[in-house]
Amino acid sequence: MGPFGALYLTQLRIQATRARLLSLAALGAAGLGIAALVGRQNTTLAAGAEFVAVFGLAVLLPITALVVSSAGFGDTIDDGTLVYLWMRPVARWQLALAALLAALTIATPLTVLPAALVPVVMGSPSTLVLPALSAATIGLIAYCCIFLALGLRSKRALMWGLLYIFIWEGFVAQAGGNSARLAVRAYTQAVLTNATGVAFDLTTIDPPWSWGVPLAVAAVAFAYTVRRLGHHDIP
């Protein structure tokens, strides 16, 4: 195995602790359980899309991405092990990419899969599956990049991440307009809206902005992570 493969496997072991996996899997399972209950009364495309948006994209996706990806560097800073990855002849971008790929590997089955299963569980039209998959995938990449950087930037990444998810995206962005454009959630919901025609509360964002902006934000956050790995103190 080469250095990158070793870094990736190490990051998987750092991020995928048993407690994390169990609690996040329970969150996704609870969501699917609720989706099944909702589906008993309403199986329309609108009901399915709304459940994907409200639970999958607004709660499950950002929380899972936060818990998993912020640990990529956050845990190694907390316990002082980052030095064992950093003091090696490996490019900084490889350190960051290995952590990101590990986060995506862990978070994808915990988020994208449940989001795609919502229409199946609810009995909603199967045309919702692909939009749900697309919105969740784009959102997951953006959130993972942002929270990977946050884990490297702040010792209180979980607290700041939760504040962002619930205060900014949950309240401030709900006011619509420009504030909504600063929330990843607005874009993921827009991807869902543009594909299904089901509108939500947040601002209207047309393609390619709906998928282009979150991916651009992801790229910027990833570049920041690489730069910070090269320029900041390593504990």
């Binding site: 190490t10 316990d79 002082g80 092990t81 064992y84 002849p89 090269g230």
Partner: protein, 326 residues
């Protein structure tokens, strides 16, 4: 990745110090580091060549910050630093030739010792990972077959694993930050011999410690760091003599401390006496050994009951204060 830096010429065993050897592998000029208003390292200049060099200083003196600066883990606020002719912070490939045992206890707890050391070997692109891992673990007397995770290891065993991961890629420069912490006496002896051997082979071994006796056993060149400044530099024994020549302060308690103090003055083993209460005195001596040999005899001769003899300034802190104040 750039090619390997030129190999240093092996230093003869027992060489007085890197300063006498070939071109330095580490050069620090005016190295300064501050954290907000706190100056952790102030205008430190030194060079280190092959062999063992000890970074000695009391806790909080700035040794770990100097270590972190040397490894590139933190950038200097001011000054120049060159390791193997480059800056490991800017040139990642330089870390190929550097091994580090960090001070912090943390390791990847879910990995076994072989996995942990093997990870280091893989990241350093060592050709035979399994062989190098086994050899490095053997150096610290650990088994690559041990299937226990590092989380189940004692502090001393973890410390040895940390040393193994620092040596697995055969580095030219090795930084060891308080490497003997948690080791039992036998392992300490083994590690000291290992570090001495690595130095004698021509590697540059930099060891930080706040324990004077430890550094003495390294038999090395010493950089004494006190309050972020380079207080002394050179051969350990010369510095040790300097330390031993300073006046020592000793507390005495006896049933007739005045008569005992007079006897010690008459015997010429103390140079100053300060009576503190009815049964206590503080005396100054320039030779602790002579004082120790004489005090009981003087007490017996003067028929004084000696109740307590206590060195008051035998800690490193006071030794360093003396060095700084000279």
């Amino acid at each position: 990745m750039s090619g390997p830096p030129p190999a240093p010429a092996p230093a003869p065993t027992g060489a007085p110090g890197p300063a006498a050897g070939p071109a330095p592998l580490i050069e620090a000029v005016g190295l300064t580091k501050w954290f907000g208003p706190v100056v952790a390292v102030s205008d430190v200049t030194f060079s280190i060549g092959p062999g063992v060099t000890a970074l000695l200083g009391p806790n909080g003196a700035g040794k770990s910050t100097v270590m972190r600066l040397l490894c590139g883990l933190t950038p200097p606020s001011k000054g120049e630093l060159r390791i193997l002719g480059g800056n490991p912070r800017r040139d990642v490939s330089l870390t190929r030739w550097i091994g580090l045992v960090p001070q912090q206890d943390g390791v990847f707890e879910q990995l076994t010792a072989a996995e942990f050391v093997g990870l280091a070997a893989t990241l350093h692109r060592v050709p035979d990972v399994a062989g190098a891992t086994a050899a490095a673990l053997d150096l610290v007397e650990l088994s690559p077959a041990d299937s226990r995770p590092l989380g189940a290891y004692s502090k001393g065993m973890r410390q040895r694993v940390k040393v193994a991961q620092a040596l697995v890629h055969d580095p030219r420069v090795i930084f060891l930050d308080e490497p003997l912490t948690g080791l039992d006496p036998r392992q300490r002896r083994h590690m000291i011999e290992l570090f001495a051997r690595l130095g004698a082979e021509g590697r540059c071994v930099v060891v930080s410690s706040h324990v004077l006796d430890e550094v003495e056993r390294f038999g090395s060149r010493v950089l004494v760091i006190v309050q972020g400044r380079l207080a002394a530099e050179g051969d350990f024994h010369a510095i040790r003599d300097l330390m031993d020549d300073r006046p020592h302060r000793i507390g005495l308690r006896a049933d007739d401390v005045r008569r005992l103090s007079t006897g010690l003055l008459d015997a010429g083993v103390v140079v100053g006496v300060q009576l503190v209460g009815q049964d206590r005195a503080v005396v100054d001596t320039v030779s602790v050994a002579a004082f120790r040999r004489t005090v009981a005899a003087v007490a017996a001769e003067r028929q004084v009951r000696l109740l307590e003899v206590r060195p008051l300034d035998d800690d490193l802190e006071s030794v360093f204060k003396y060095l700084v104040g000279r």
